[in-house]
Amino acid sequence: MTLAADALRTTTHPAAHALASEGLNTHAGALPARRPGPTNSEPKAVRIAIITVALLFLGLFIALPLISVFYEAFKRGWLAYVAALVEPDALAAIRLTLLVAGISVVANVTFGLVAAWAIAKFEFPGKSLLITLIDLPFSVSPVVAGLVYVLLFGSQGLFAAYLQAWDIKIIFALPGIVLATLFVTFPFVARELIPLMQEQGTAEEEAAASLGASGLSIFFRVTLPNVKWALLYGVLLCNARAMGEFGAVSVVSGHIRGLTNTMPLHIEILYNEYQFVASFAVASLLALLALVTLIAKTLLEARLVEDAQ
């Protein structure tokens, strides 16, 4: 994450060139800061030892479990694997997970852009409070996040009377699962954008405004192009977390099969039912998602570095 952030900060701003004349482009003089190259002062043996330890650690704690997921999933062949995935409850879980992740990503992109825009480009009272609040989900246990919604929207909760009067179901239904997921994925997009936008400052927007661009036009032609890769990066992380979230969702789900079980919850149920192949088959989908995320992240980082040069 920090690697990408470093790279992002050095991005040049082609859109700014399009709008502002050369003289006005204040960023043109700021050359991308190069990361220092690898230092080779350590003796070779030390370097090899360190690399070996790192690789062993990664192999043991990340690669091996990942491989074992696929191994277990295909233990009884392709047919059993596919059967586990097309089973109605599994399909329902996959659909629900995709739906929840989709809603979370859209909501968090909207919120993240708005919050980052406000924080980076304007001064207002309560700004540091807002930054702290955005970070809150990182420090709160997901289980607590789920319980908070039970306390608010449960039938013994604060809004129980209103919800019952209007027959609105929040927890143990889709809205609760979305809320809990939103809570835990809240910081991902905003956190990627804020430092970048702060660094970029408001000079380009001011330049655009002085040339007569409208607010909307400034946003879509200056601000958004400047942060597009960071935004994509945030979306990627947000999506991965939204699909994988277990704790918060478990609390508000009610575990109704085929209805309120997301993929992680479905995996647990299958495992507890001694259906190990099915359980690992669904788990392998989540693992695949992780791999896709990883590849996308690598490509994205390459793109960011390219942009920086």
């Binding site: 039970v150 929207f153 449960g154 039938s155 013994q156 909760g157 129980a160 179901k169 927890i171 143990f172 009610g254 575990h255 109704i256 099969r257 085929g258 209805l259 149920i269 495992y271 507890n272 039912e273 001694y274």
Partner: protein, 339 residues
């Protein structure tokens, strides 16, 4: 009379169909039923739902019936219903969890009188699951209290099965020590000293024992123990039945507030009554729950070990009292487990 269209006849037909629609609003409908249950009943209700759906289709041919299941620790599930999980029926591990729901006004207080046999259509008991060949030589409750035996049991705070486990051990100790409460406490404390990890539900504990290979003995529902042996191979585990155990009565109830709101009372009541029919009782026996129906119990006599059983009412004066004494905050379990 060869009029192709008679207004009178048409009006009559409309009236008839209208009255029919009013009298029987659920002639053909998409209906759903949510059964909120505890951990070890997963397989039983998967089977039972199929059987009941077939039965329901006979009398309600137009209906599309979907029965949904939710499973977890019994106490946790009760809590979810209280928090608004819209269960039409609850089929939990013990009466106290349903009492808790009833106390919040979701279920009529007399729920346990509305169905036969204390509203428990099947019973079970608590047995031990040990590694194949019983390497630790576990025969009875005493062996669980011995130093060096690793015991696996779930947390009585969240799991119904765990509370039955606790009370079974306590009841045994009382019988053995002539009703000496202090000795019973010491005995049960020794058992829990041997149980460093407490899962939240019975199934969690079973998985800990059979899959992760932790512990020498799992204190388990009889049905759960048989299921584990059948699913994971009789070559890996043995079931040991103690000399004395508790008669566990997992009760069922219609959640009045929910069925009245959703208009599913008839369906929910039929669902629970079906548990008491020979077909329902056969399914209970198939999944290693002891059937109440005597004829069917006799048929499956060989399936269940002969064991001296005491009831919670005999030894503990009912669930409410037992819950308060043993499992409330600061109760006996807290005293035992805290130090």
């Amino acid at each position: 009379m060869s009029a192709p269209f008679s207004l009178k006849r048409f009006a009559g037909a409309v009236a008839v169909s209208l009255s029919a629609a009013l009298a029987l609003p659920a002639v053909a409908a998409d209906v759903t039923l949510l059964n909120v249950s505890y951990d070890p009943t997963r397989e039983l209700y998967t089977d039972f739902n199929k059987a009941f759906s077939a039965e329901w289709a006979k009398t309600h041919p137009g209906d599309t019936l979907t029965i949904r299941q939710s499973h977890g620790g019994s106490g946790k599930q009760a809590r979810s219903v209280i928090d608004g999980l819209e269960a039409d029926v609850v089929t939990l591990a013990l009466a106290y969890d349903i009492d808790e729901i009833a106390d919040r006004g979701f279920i009529a207080q007399d729920w346990q009188k509305r169905l036969p046999d204390n509203a428990a259509p099947y019973t079970s008991t608590i047995v031990f699951l040990v590694r194949k060949g019983n390497p630790k030589g576990i025969k009875d409750w005493d062996d669980l209290a011995k130093a060096g035996t690793k015991v696996v049991t779930p947390n009585p705070k969240t799991s119904g099965g765990a509370r039955w486990n606790f009370l079974a051990a306590w009841g045994y100790a009382l019988k053995k020590n002539g009703g000496d409460e202090a000795k019973a406490k010491e005995f049960v404390k020794a058992i829990y000293k041997n149980a460093p990890v407490l899962d939240t539900g019975a199934r969690g504990s079973t998985v800990t024992f059979v899959e992760r290979g932790i512990g020498d003995v799992l204190i388990a529902w009889e049905n759960e123990a048989y299921l584990a042996v059948n699913e994971l191979g009789p070559d890996k585990f043995d079931i040991v039945t103690p000399s004395i155990s508790i008669l566990a009565e997992p009760p069922v109830a219609v959640v009045d507030k929910v069925v009245d709101k959703r208009g599913t009372r008839a369906l929910a009541e039929a669902y629970l009554k079906y548990l008491y029919t020979p077909a329902g009782q056969e399914l209970s026996a198939k999944h290693y729950y002891r059937p109440r129906n005597e004829a069917i119990a006799a048929k499956y006599k060989d399936k269940f070990a002969d064991v001296q059983l005491f009831t919670i009412d005999q030894v503990f004066g009912g669930w409410r009292k037992a819950q308060k004494t043993f499992f409330s905050d600061g109760g006996v379990f807290d005293q035992i487990y805290a130090n």
